[in-house]
Symmetry: C2
Subunit: 275 residues, 2 copies
């Protein structure tokens, strides 16, 4: 185990000194939706704190006396240095992206005018929300009837849902991102591939997280999708991001949590059509 | 029927002259997700065109040769005056909101600094995405197994899903928006109510659309929710937006389409626990 791996995550119990401008509030124990935000910080080397306090997280973020106005319904939530809070994964990512150079142009870019930057930011946001739509569908596969019920209480419905997901919905998302990558002119020279422009965006990082998630949850189906050879650029993007030095370091660190049996990305062998 | 009602919608078949800077591409026949964007244009009196061409809409918006890069997966999509396209309902709304004064501050505001405007825009986006999450759950009630199957082929699962939705998820969303409205200091003096700041935002308009949708889809359950008296401000916001002159005029016009039996907001009496 390297020194890096022994480091503690930037977790802040109670009143410990903050390391940066941003504090992420999310469940403890899974990468989950918090991971889309962690990857933004990790890739850009932005210091951040985390509060992983499952016992009081929901009470805290729905109590307007504590979190300000308007309150935040679900984690993840982002606490800013000025004490204000944001929630909704997609909103947090899109708030951070231009500030951290992940919206399709460099932080210090002076070539683009304001309107071009706004449009690129919106395109990044569009791709991020499509990645998050894929995650919502993934969650719906093991919770088709209601988020209020256990998997075991909706397993028959989940088996039906998984069949459709494997056959049609999962390839649809792969096809979409493959088309985006094929039609991005910046990818012609063999650089990248990038979803948008010729820089890593928050959308690339989000798709990387979904890839780690589907490889965990549906290893059998994703293997057959890969072997079809139809979506090579999607797998190439996954490998590229995985090998970015800051991401590679993060994935080996203690800060990266394993997938588990709650949240979006769960491995139920029967849903992946395994015996 | 008034002269207004006889007017044709701003529909543009083929090459007809555009009336404004924006063209909305969406299915014909239902308000659907396109309505969140129409309400933004209608409330602000912004001229817009519509292309409602179901037969070629999907081919068009997934063909990168026609729509530019990256392609747009699903309608609604917004075509800009410069020929560029955006998709994802939440992204389109949040792209338009600051430009049209619907992000919690006036278009010509000079009191707030740039960072405060960005934060208000993000808060508006947060609320818009939460309204859209509610719409996704509404759709999931009648399509719990897969969007690929007809309602009739997943009716048993839908009945289970609807039970959970009526009992717990629908009141949860009402409670959240009621809390947001209660804790907005701008609502103290009896003005509004507004979800954010003391101005109508895109979030208010989006919640208004969901209210018209749940009143159509779950009239029995929404009546009992209203009679509980717990969510008065949510119903008050609905009435306020409904009575805004431009919205009232729009709702009476030919441009407003009726809900139907496709899309998010469908009335299946059995899902509303009717005999």
């Amino acid at each position: 185990m390297s020194a890096r791996e022994e480091e503690k995550p930037n977790e802040r119990p109670g009143k410990r000194q903050k390391v940066g401008l941003y504090t992420l509030h999310y469940w403890d124990g899974i990468p989950g939706r918090g991971e889309y935000i962690r990857l933004v910080f990790e890739y850009t080397g932005t210091p951040y704190d985390e509060v992983k306090d499952n016992s009081t997280l929901m009470a805290r973020i729905t109590n307007p006396e504590i979190v300000g106005i308007p309150p935040n319904l679900w984690p993840p939530a982002l606490e800013l240095a000025n004490g204000k809070w944001l929630s909704q994964t997609g909103v947090i990512i899109n708030y951070l992206s231009p500030k951290l150079g992940l919206a399709g142009y460099a932080k210090d870019d002076t070539d683009l005018d304001e309107e071009e930057k706004i449009f690129l930011g919106a395109k990044n946001a569009q791709l991020v929300l499509t990645v998050l739509d894929m995650a919502v569908e993934l969650h719906g596969v093991h919770h088709p009837v209601s988020v209020n019920l256990y998997y075991e209480d909706q397993k028959a419905e989940a088996l039906r849902s998984a069949e459709q997901f494997r056959a049609s919905r999962l390839p649809k998302f792969f096809q979409y991102f493959q088309t985006v990558l094929e039609t991005n002119p910046a990818n012609k020279g063999g650089k990248g591939p990038f979803l948008l422009s010729s820089l890593t965006t928050a959308a690339d990082l989000a798709l990387f997280h979904n890839m780690t998630g589907v490889l965990h949850a549906f290893p059998r189906r994703v293997k057959s999708i890969q072997e079809s050879g139809k979506y090579e650029l999607v797998f190439k993007l996954y490998e590229r991001v995985q090998n970015e030095p800051k991401i590679a370091e993060y994935m080996e660190s203690k800060r990266r949590q394993d997938f588990g049996m709650f949240g979006i990305f769960r491995h139920y062998p029967e849903l992946d059509n395994e015996e």
